[in-house]
């Protein structure tokens, strides 16, 4: 921690808090759309962190990585929403508790 300046530390704390909110959202919420939003929040926290580190290291590759994450996240959420539509057609609900066919 001592290697980082104060400004980057603040970004690190903010990104960690955002990431933690995202993780809690995925684990706690039952509505599938809210879960998707929480996943996006996790990814955006990572983007923020990468940009902050990129400026700190004076190195552009972190910012390029952010573009990869944005593009992939868009592709991923497209597939996710398609899956959600498929489920809504079959069950008429977007609640994750309506899915209980598979159990050990």
């Amino acid at each position: 921690m001592q290697v980082l300046s104060n400004t980057v530390n603040n970004y690190l704390v903010l990104a960690s808090i955002l990431f933690a909110i995202g993780v809690m959202g995925v684990l706690v919420r039952r509505n599938i759309i809210i879960i998707f939003m929480s996943i996006e929040l996790m990814l955006n926290a990572i983007n923020l962190l990468l940009v902050a580190f990129s400026v700190f290291h004076n190195d552009a590759s972190g910012q390029v990585f952010v573009f990869f994450i944005m593009a992939v996240a868009a592709a991923e959420v497209t597939v996710g929403l398609a899956i959600l539509v498929m489920i809504y057609r079959n069950t008429g609900s977007v609640d994750i508790n309506s899915l209980n066919k598979l159990k050990w």
């Binding site: 980057v8 996790m42 991923e76 899956i83 489920i87 598979l102």
Partner: protein, 462 residues
């Protein structure tokens, strides 16, 4: 590199086949194409080239693993053919998704830049989310797809946070530069670096379904269509292990004292949980999912080894696991066709009605359990002795105990095949299907009888 480009091209060809209407010949084109890619891959094996300034490297490690993956994909194409010939599925879309997933696996075995690791995982995962849900009107398939998606995205998030922290600590994404920084100050690495390593480990443990991050695996494997489950359990798993091994053994090896004990605990829990829960299953498909979790524990053991042998052990073990599991899924596929169910009872009488299928199943079960004539025995033996040489005695004891438990549920299949009455319903296998099954069966036995040949072949490439 040619392997990667050609695989992606085959995916595009599959999509074009829908437009230009040569769908009927698509299967043949893809099988011939993959054979061609395999030959190209063989010709590239002995070289080690870096591409796109240090993004990917095609060394012998990448070559051997992509060869293995393409070989398994070829076998998969033969097994799944009849599934896609019946009009239940939209053939061209499925084949193109499979080819793009294969592209992802080839990126995963050859990355040297953390961005390529992330992209490889996503290129592999996104088609698999779709394929898992490809039975649109079946609720179990929908559920499998959603669970796979949420868990996959969640794991990618954790992995990415780890990558971001590693970048913060080192200022680079290149795994060789990170390794250099790690070995230069192995005593005093910043806390960001450690946290990064552990988050990357958790993210990858999700992907290889190691306990305690395994809970999605049985549900997803059970809900997905059977041929897709076969693909996930063999090809996807092999690629995930290749990535895990490359990252941890090249990059984080200097810091093994910090993460080694955590990984050991994960391995012990994976082996015990996987094997014990597999005993209680009534469906063979679900049993194979738990057996996959248990086998993941054995494969993770190679990551702890710092010797040169660990690479051979990993290659031998993944090929033995993947071949045997693919075989088991092929037989299960035909059994489900005959009986319409995948419980242990549906295997009863198979020994009388379909002797060939029964013999192939016996070979693959023996190999998975690690009984001598099959390759599984030698893979386990080679792995355990290498682990023992490094002084992880407790780990080997747990692994052997786990193998003992596994004999129970693997033999349950064999016993139910050779007891009980055979039924009149039967299925006609085509000559090609029979030939492929016999070929893999022979390969499993042959590699088990003369394991030296395989090891020498791998060593001669290095």
């Amino acid at each position: 590199m040619k392997t990667l480009i050609l695989t992606a091209l085959l995916g595009i060809v599959s999509m074009l086949s829908e437009i230009f209407g040569f769908r009927k010949y698509l299967w043949t084109i893809l099988v011939l194409g993959l054979t061609g890619v395999f030959c190209v891959n063989l010709s590239e094996l002995t070289s080690a080239y870096q591409y796109f300034p240090n993004m990917v490297v095609f060394d012998h490690y990448a070559g051997v693993f992509s060869g293995l993956i393409i070989l398994m994909a070829l076998v998969w194409f033969f097994i799944s053919k009849d599934q896609y010939d019946s009009n239940e599925f939209n053939q061209a879309d499925h084949y193109s998704l499979i080819m793009f997933a294969l592209t992802g696996t080839i990126v995963l075995v050859s990355f040297t830049h953390l961005a390529m690791l992330f992209l490889g995982i996503e290129i592999l995962s996104i088609p698999m989310f779709i394929l898992a849900g490809s039975r649109k009107h079946e609720l179990s398939s929908n559920e499998a797809s959603l669970k796979y998606f949420i868990m996959g995205a969640f794991a990618s998030g954790i992995l990415l946070f780890g990558i971001a922290l590693l970048y913060g600590a080192t200022g680079t994404f290149n795994i060789h530069e990170i390794a250099l920084i790690a070995s230069n100050n192995s005593g005093s690495v910043s806390i960001l670096f450690y946290t990064g390593i552990f988050m990357v480990m958790i993210g990858l443990a999700f992907k290889v379904s190691a306990v305690p991050f395994h809970f999605w695996t049985p549900d997803v494997y059970e809900g997905s269509p059977l041929v897709i489950t076969a693909f996930m359990a063999t090809i996807v798993k092999t690629a995930a292990f290749a990535a895990f091994y490359r990252l941890f053994n090249t990059t984080f090896a200097p810091l093994i004292h910090q993460w080694g004990s955590t990984l050991s605990v994960i391995i012990i829990f994976t082996i015990l949980t996987g094997n014990i829960l597999a005993v209680y299953q009534t469906s063979v498909k679900r049993m194979l999912a738990y057996s996959g979790i248990a086998q993941a524990g054995y494969m993770l053991m190679t990551i702890l080894l710092t010797t040169y042998e660990s690479q051979n052990a990993l290659i031998l073990y993944t090929s033995s696991y993947a071949l045997s599991t693919l075989c088991a899924f092929a037989v299960l596929h035909y059994v489900v066709k005959i009986k319409g169910s995948d419980t242990f009872e549906s295997f009863s009488g198979l020994g009388k009605s379909h002797p060939l299928l029964a013999v192939i199943m016996v070979i693959s079960m023996l190999s998975l359990a690690g009984i001598p004539p099959a390759v599984g025995f030698f893979a386990k033996f080679y792995l355990f002795s290498a682990v023992l040489q490094q002084g992880y005695l407790a780990l080997v004891i747990v692994a052997v105990l786990g193998s003992l438990i596994s004999v129970y549920y693997y033999f349950r299949v064999i016993i139910s095949m050779y007891s009980g009455e055979s039924e009149t319903e039967s299925i006609q296998l085509t000559v090609i299907n029979k030939a492929v099954l016999v070929l893999i069966g022979c390969l499993i036995i042959l590699l088990g009888v003369t394991p030296g040949l395989f090891i020498d072949a791998i060593k001669s490439l290095t």
